[in-house]
C-alpha cells in the first residue's frame, strides 16, 4: 500500500526536462531490450529492468475528467460533462439475499458506524492506463460483517443505479443496464477492498461514482462499480456486466496481470496518466503480497 499524503504531490507533474532525459534513457533501454531479446531468457531480465517511477498522486483534475462511466457516455470526457444530472443524496442502498440484516438502508445510516479511512491506491484500467488515487472510504469487510452474511453467501453482487433520466447514457443499450459487478466473499472482505465515498478529501464527484463505489486495487478498474444501489449476498458467482458483454475478453476475477494480454491489446505495460513514458504493469497491480494467496492453486490464466 502506498502511504503518501496529498501534501507530497509535486506541482511540476509535467517536467519537460525530465521527459527529455527520460527519452534519452529510453533509447538506451530500447537498445538494451533488443539485445536482451537476442540473448534469450537471461536477457529478458535486463529488458524487465525497473522502469517504474514513484507512485506520484494523479492530479484531481485528471481523476475527475478522465473516466469510464458509460452511464454518462462512452467518451472519457463524457462523465465529467454529463454526470451533473445524478442526485447522490438522498441515496438508498438495498441489502438483500443470504444476509441476516437485509433491508433498504439510507446511505448515511449504512456508513455511520464506520470510520472513514484514507487509502492511496494505484488504479489500473483494463485499457492499459493507470492512476494513483487518494480515496476516502470504509473497508467493505467491516460493512459486510455488520450486515451478517449467512453460510450460503459465497459471493457479493453489486448493482449500479438504473435511471435513464439521471444517467442519460443508459438511454442507449451499450451495456445491458444496470451495471453489475461481483466479488468472491474472501475478496470482498479483504482489508484492501473499500467502499469509497470520497477522493482528495472531498465527497466523490458524480463522474467518479458518487455517492458510493467499490475500489479493489489489485483488479482492473471496471470491477470498481460506481453509484451502488444494491448489495446482494448470493450463493453463485454473479455475471458481471463486462463478462456478459464479451466473456472472451473480460472475466469475473479481472486481476491485473501483465502476463495475460487482452485479446486485442497488450497488458504488459501501462501509461500513468500525466506521464509520458509507459511503465511495466505489475502482477496484482503491485498488491501481490497481500492478495496472491487468495488465488493459490487457481490457473492464473483464468483470472483475467
Amino acid at each position: 500500500m502506498i502511504i503518501k499524503k496529498p501534501a507530497d504531490i509535486k506541482s511540476d507533474e509535467i517536467t519537460p526536462e525530465s521527459v527529455y532525459i527520460d527519452r534519452r534513457k529510453f533509447i538506451g533501454t530500447s537498445a538494451i531490450g533488443l539485445t536482451a531479446a537476442a540473448l534469450g531468457s537471461r536477457g529478458s531480465k535486463l529488458l524487465a529492468q525497473d522502469d517504474r517511477q514513484d507512485d506520484e498522486l494523479t492530479s484531481f483534475e485528471s481523476i475527475t475528467t478522465h473516466n469510464n462511466f458509460y452511464e454518462f457516455g462512452t467518451g472519457k470526457g463524457d462523465p465529467s460533462r454529463n454526470a451533473h444530472t445524478l442526485r447522490p443524496r438522498p441515496w438508498t442502498v438495498t441489502v438483500e439475499g443470504a444476509v441476516e440484516n437485509p433491508g433498504e438502508y439510507d446511505l448515511d445510516d449504512l456508513l455511520r458506524p464506520h470510520t472513514v479511512q484514507e487509502r492511496i491506491y494505484r488504479m489500473r484500467c483494463v485499457e492499459a492506463w493507470s492512476m494513483v488515487i487518494p480515496w476516502q472510504g470504509v473497508p467493505l469487510g467491516d460493512v459486510i460483517a455488520r450486515l451478517g452474511p449467512t453460510a450460503n453467501a459465497n459471493y457479493v453482487e453489486f448493482v449500479t443505479l438504473l435511471d435513464p433520466i439521471q444517467m442519460p447514457g443508459q438511454r442507449r443499450r451499450v451495456i445491458d443496464w444496470p451495471y453489475i459487478e461481483g466479488l468472491r466473499m474472501d475478496e470482498a472482505t479483504h482489508p484492501l477492498t473499500i467502499l469509497a465515498t470520497g477522493l482528495y478529501d472531498r465527497d466523490l464527484l458524480n463522474q467518479n461514482g458518487a455517492p458510493l463505489r467499490l475500489v479493489i486495487p489489485w483488479k482492473y478498474g471496471f470491477k470498481g462499480i460506481k453509484s451502488i444501489v444494491a448489495i446482494r449476498f448470493v450463493e453463485r458467482q454473479p455475471i458481471n456486466s463486462w463478462k456478459a458483454l464479451a466473456p472472451n475478453e473480460y472475466g469475473f476475477f479481472a486481476n491485473v496481470n501483465p502476463e495475460v494480454n487482452h485479446p486485442r491489446w497488450s497488458q504488459a505495460r501501462e501509461r500513468r496518466i500525466g506521464k509520458f513514458r509507459k511503465i511495466r504493469t505489475l502482477p496484482f497491480n503491485g498488491y501481490g503480497d497481500e492478495v496472491a494467496h487468495m488465488y493459490a492453486g487457481m490457473d492464473p490464466r483464468t483470472l483475467y
Binding site: 529510453f26 531490450g33 529488458l47 483534475e61 478522465h66 462512452t74 486485442r264 497488450s266 501509461r271 500525466g274
Partner: protein
Amino acid sequence: MKPISMKVIKPLVFALALVPAVKLAFDALTGGLGADPIEETTHRTGAWTLYILITSLAVTPLRRVTGWNQLIKLRRTIGLFALFYATLHFLTYLVLDLFFYLPEVLEDVFLRPYITVGFTAFVILIVLGATSNARMIKKLGGKRWNSLHRLVYLAGALGVFHFLWLVKADTRRPEILGVTLAALLGTRLFKGRARPVTKFST
C-alpha cells in the same frame, strides 16, 4: 463551371482539411487534450483519416450527380490529406505512444489484428500517395493506375475494421463510417454496371 471557381475552391478545401490539425496543435498547446493527450491525439488523427478518406471517395459520385467535372481535381488533394492524417496517426502511435519500443511495435503489427489491418491500410495509403502524381499515372498507364487506386476502398474498409475492433462496446461511430463507405462503394459498383445502358454520364 468557370475555371475561376476551382481556383477558389481548391485552396478552400486545402485550408478546411488543415483545420483538425490546427485545432489539434492549438489544443495540445493549451492543455485541451484532456488527461491522456496521447490517446486523444491518436483517436483524433485516426478519426480524421477515416472522415477525409471517405470524403475523397465521395468526390466521384458527387461529380456524377452534379455533373460538375471539375470536382475531380479535388480528389487527389483530399486523398493526400487522408494520408497526411494517417501519417500523424501512425507517428503518434510510434513516437508518443510506444516511443519506438520495437518489441511492442512488432508484436502489435503482427499479432494484434486491429493494428495489423490498420497498418495495412496505412501502407496502402502510402503506395497510393506515392503514385498519385501525373508522372506515375503516365508510367503505370491509366488502366493499371486505376486498378491500383481501387485499393483505396480496401484501405477504407481496413480502416473501419481497425476502428471497430479497438472500441470496447460503443460501436456506433465505426458502424456509421462502415455504412457510409459501403454506400459509396455501392454507387461505384452500380454505376459500373449501369453505364452502358443508361448513359447518364457527365
